[in-house]
Subunit: 108 residues, 2 copies
DNA sequence: GACAAGTAATACCTTTTGGTATCATATTGG
DNA sequence: CCAATATGATACCAAAAGGTATTACTTGTC
């Protein structure tokens, strides 16, 4: 049996509107925490907590540049979600096959 | 600009291990709330709440059968997640194109 | 050392999670 | 048909987790 690891932390990270917006911002360009905070009515500390959750969900990565730390999207988390959803594609395939078998049985 | 609606409720529904397990059970067969509760150390009322969240995330549907109500997977939620992830695929494409452009610039 | 970015600690409030209790409804047996 | 039973829906409550603001501390660059 083929198993798949469930990206719980990734889904949790995605289940918040603020974090979704942050991802949207980062899809344009990499940003510091202060720059992200500039787009919201929120303190740097508040943004930082969301960034940590996004990082734990492997949706962003951080790289130092001078005295700043630039945050950018990380493909890992997105791939994990895509894989997980793909796993359930089996289900729909089997369901369609079962339906097809039923129909063919009817035609006999 | 092409927009995409963000399935927040769906991600929220997916961000819980118990609900993920429930989806796994339902990928085998449709089940009543009582049957789902049989797989967990949880009351029917507790399970019911998870089912409601899954339903709001369009991950399951319910159909009545006698005095029972059978729960099964709903493709809508899964499709929404797939679409959303697909939207971010653009990002990786653009990033690769930018990289390619840089490399070609270098070769001049 | 001064400044700006980042991080840590704390407190407050809201949301989520799960339990118990209760009620309505549908089925089944007598 | 009526009583007993099983299912599921809902209301209320307590504990836990999550979100935000405030304040203060650390670190890196100039």
């Amino acid at each position: 049996m083929e198993t798949i690891n469930i990206p719980t932390q990734t889904f949790k990270a995605l289940g918040d509107p603020t974090r979704q917006q942050i991802l949207g911002l980062l899809s344009d360009q990499e940003l510091t925490i202060a720059q992200v905070a500039g787009h919201f009515d929120m303190t740097r500390a508040g943004v930082k907590k969301h960034m940590k959750i996004l990082e734990e969900g492997r949706l962003i990565t951080v790289r130092p540049k001078g005295r700043e730390r630039l945050n950018s999207l990380n493909r890992d988390g997105f791939s994990a979600v895509a894989d997980w959803v793909g796993y359930f594609d089996q289900f729909w395939d089997e369901k369609l096959n079962a339906l097809k078998a039923l129909v063919e049985e009817d035609l006999k």
